[in-house]
Symmetry: C2
Subunit: 186 residues, 2 copies
DNA sequence: ATTCCTATAGACTGATTAGTCAATTTAATA
DNA sequence: TATTAAATTGACTAATCAGTCTATAGGAAT
């Protein structure tokens, strides 16, 4: 990826997250990225293409962070905790990307094509869960409900420690995971 | 409240939720409400005042819906379930208001004054929780974490049934509550 | 050296925006 | 009925916006 293209993505991520899509002008993005508006439209044919590429880029970052969490030697709870912790840590350390994802995941500017492309990449992650289900360690709630419960727990945990940074430590992180785990386990 | 003022609030709620704050023009709001732009600015001195009054109004609606859930004769779990169900049902039945609240609760357009005013009204709701804590029915997680866990569970449940409306029935609602309850209870 | 393509710049444009203002209608009161 | 204040209108304006266009600069290939 070209250097200026990356600068434009970084600037957009920051500004879209802070002020929203319509609240951010392409002129501001160009200025923050240190390029001319013409350069922005050279790499991205419209503001909408820019936000779609940005959505794809942030979701890819998230997926990279959470790959490979199914070590058959470890107990299921441990595998699941690693996944949960990776998601929460991504939310806290890469908070701009995480906030962008949750703000724009149901935005009308993101085309369904963009969403499909990235959702397809998510399949692997689900393996952990399927294993736990097979081993009957977790409740027999249907798959979609369990997944939304997992994601909801991650989002509310990240939001919580964003609101109370002084509470962020290993002990409270364990507490938050146990809330999630005791809900989902048998 | 004057009739046209209410029409303007209703139109704003719909349009802000669908297209965002910056994505909605005052001209569109006025047209949807069936008034002239001059009338809009007669009742609301700016677009920002409009969204702040709307935030206050939607949060008041939410609070009205969830009042008085501490019947000492009933077991704690039942009281808490009523509160949880009222929140979830509000999210599903008044989905515009609910979506507006979660979309704009950390928006820069809502002043901290507006937020304070409404948060103060929330105190009463917490009584249920305090009772359960005293009776040692729930885990000794600190107060703020438990509250954020409760709200997170409500949001993810509402989102879930919004995504899969065909799954919305009493049985699955109970399932979703049990996920929450088994997390928080001892 | 010449050709040709990509990268970069920033002035410019037509469209849209939040908010104003002077004129008019409505409603209430004296 | 006459008077006055509040409600309502929509044309108007100055500012801002997304995207275009023309002009250069650089570098690779011939």
């Amino acid at each position: 990826m070209k250097e200026k293209e990356q600068k434009i993505l970084d600037a957009s991520l920051k500004l879209f997250t802070e002020r929203g899509f319509q609240g951010t002008s392409t002129a501001e993005i160009a200025k923050t990225a240190g390029v001319a508006t013409g350069t922005l439209f050279h790499y991205f044919k419209s503001k909408e293409e820019l936000i779609n590429r940005l959505y794809f880029y942030t979701k890819e970052s998230l997926l990279t962070e959470i790959s490979a969490h199914c070590d058959d030697k470890k107990p299921f709870k441990e595998n699941l905790k690693e996944l949960w912790l990776d998601l929460v840590n991504f939310g806290i350390n890469d908070s701009n990307k995480f906030q962008f994802i949750i703000t724009f995941h149901c935005s009308p500017y993101i085309t369904s094509l963009t969403k499909e492309e990235i959702e397809n990449k998510l399949e692997g992650t689900l393996e952990v869960y399927k294993k736990g289900l097979k081993e009957q360690e977790i409740k027999e709630v249907y798959f979609e409900l369990a997944m939304d419960y997992l994601w909801g727990s991650v989002v509310s945990t990240v939001d919580h420690f964003g609101k109370y940074p002084e509470k962020f430590n290993a002990h409270n992180l364990d507490l938050a995971f146990e809330l999630f785990w005791d809900g989902i386990s048998k």
